[in-house]
Symmetry: C2
């Protein structure tokens, strides 16, 4: 059924040996069209493939998801990630799963962030944050319902996917990937506003700052700006995961939340 599958491989440069191991295995079963350092520029149309394999951590998968239109599979040594559903020693299983298309197709939506200087897309989050030397900033967060004000070091607007990234570190909730909502979380807010706000993904969010702040999109600083406009992007990205590695398993494995612990039978 899934014969003649064409595959592309991206790898993180310090995982090159693992990547070669994967390449050798996959090349016995599928047509591997490219084998590419993930930091290099890439012209997708020159290498048409059905599936993109990423050998690296969550960060490498995240950057690859934004680079290609195909479904993406993450594979890494050591421990599984939120985005990496296969361990290196499960490469044979991966080959079987590809042949049988035995995956959960995990669609994730993105943020579209517009400023006067450009448009950016985020799978995890958009952050507006002061420099170390700047004073605490005033943020006006406007949605249909009204305006929320924060006197804080920064503001994080995240997708459900991003809820287990920086937002989680700031005290936010864990959102299942299929929740249709944004999460807004202030960084070090005065005085007690240390809670996240969860709003429908159909909203358009504008954030105005009283000074220029750094705009950080999925971890990369892209701009210095005093206003952004955020909404759900129409494009989705697709992760393929083994059916056994669902979201609750990844949350339990990666951060221990909701895992059985001593005292409750585990």
């Amino acid at each position: 059924m899934y014969e003649n599958i064409k595959i592309g491989i991206f790898y993180r440069i310090d995982y090159v040996e693992s990547a070669k191991f994967v390449l050798d295995k996959l090349a016995n079963h599928f047509e591997v069209k490219h084998f590419t350092d993930s930091t290099l520029d890439f012209e997708e149309e020159k290498f048409p493939v059905d599936i993109t394999i990423v050998v690296g951590g969550d960060g490498t998968v995240l950057r690859t998801l934004k680079k290609v239109k195909t479904p993406v599979i993450g594979i890494k040594a050591g421990r599984l990630g939120f985005f990496s559903g296969y361990l290196l020693n499960e490469t044979d299983k991966l080959i079987e799963d590809i042949k049988n298309w035995n995956f959960t197709e995990d669609k994730r939506w993105m943020l579209r962030i517009e400023t006067t200087k450009g448009v950016y897309f985020a799978i995890n989050d958009a952050v507006l944050q002061k420099d170390i030397k700047q004073k605490i900033l005033d943020f006006d967060v406007r949605i249909t319902d009204g305006t929320f004000y924060y006197h804080a070091d920064g503001i994080v607007i995240s997708t459900p996917t991003g809820s287990s990234a920086y937002s989680l570190a700031l005290g936010g909730p864990i959102m299942l990937p299929n929740v249709e909502a944004f999460e807004i979380t202030p960084i070090a807010p005065q005085f007690l506003a240390t809670r996240s706000l969860v709003i429908p993904s159909s909203e358009r969010i504008s954030v105005f700052v009283n000074d220029k702040a750094n705009l950080i999109v999925d971890g990369d600083t892209v701009d210095q700006i005093d206003a952004i406009h955020v909404r759900k992007c129409t494009r989705t990205v697709v992760l393929l995961r083994p059916k056994s590695y669902d979201f609750s398993t990844s949350i339990k494995d990666k951060i221990g939340y909701g895992r059985k612990i001593l005292g409750n039978g585990g």
Copy 2:
């Protein structure tokens, strides 16, 4: 356009003087079909009305919303509530707003909680919680995606409406009323699971406990049980509020979240 409007009034017994004040004013303009102590049993079909007015706090409005099928308006002395959109001294404005149907219709959905002993409905939340003398309980929270385990004093499942009630006190996020999601928040969990889980309202949640726990629905203890099944109820309730009193205003007024503070111009 809105002539011959029939009105029912519920009041909290210690607000009876305020309620009489409202009754006298409204009776000059509308047909008041009943004037009822909110704690009494009530047969709605005997008193058909278009609008139900509640003189009392959020708790009284909440109980009334579950008792009647009409839209509900909350009015109280002192300060506004999440559910009470009019102050007592705004009764004349309320009369004009009724005549012109000048309201935001605020629809809220409910939880349907099923146990072996009965079915219950919650506007805010369903809580499973141990007695003081009981040991810490083991909760298995099952959703489509998998099972989360908590070793804790209790578990709160809340609607977006309930996110500003008990869940908020436990550290949960603030959810806009129109978010299509449940919030699950553990009470005093071992060891570091002090975060909320946000899941789509299309999910069905089952909670299993290793001992009987108190089931508390919107603040009332209704059962001792070791399993509950929760989903979104098809019935909605309708609050009428003045257009100026939106959700963000109520959040800023009631709990100070997102309000301008000294340091950001307010």
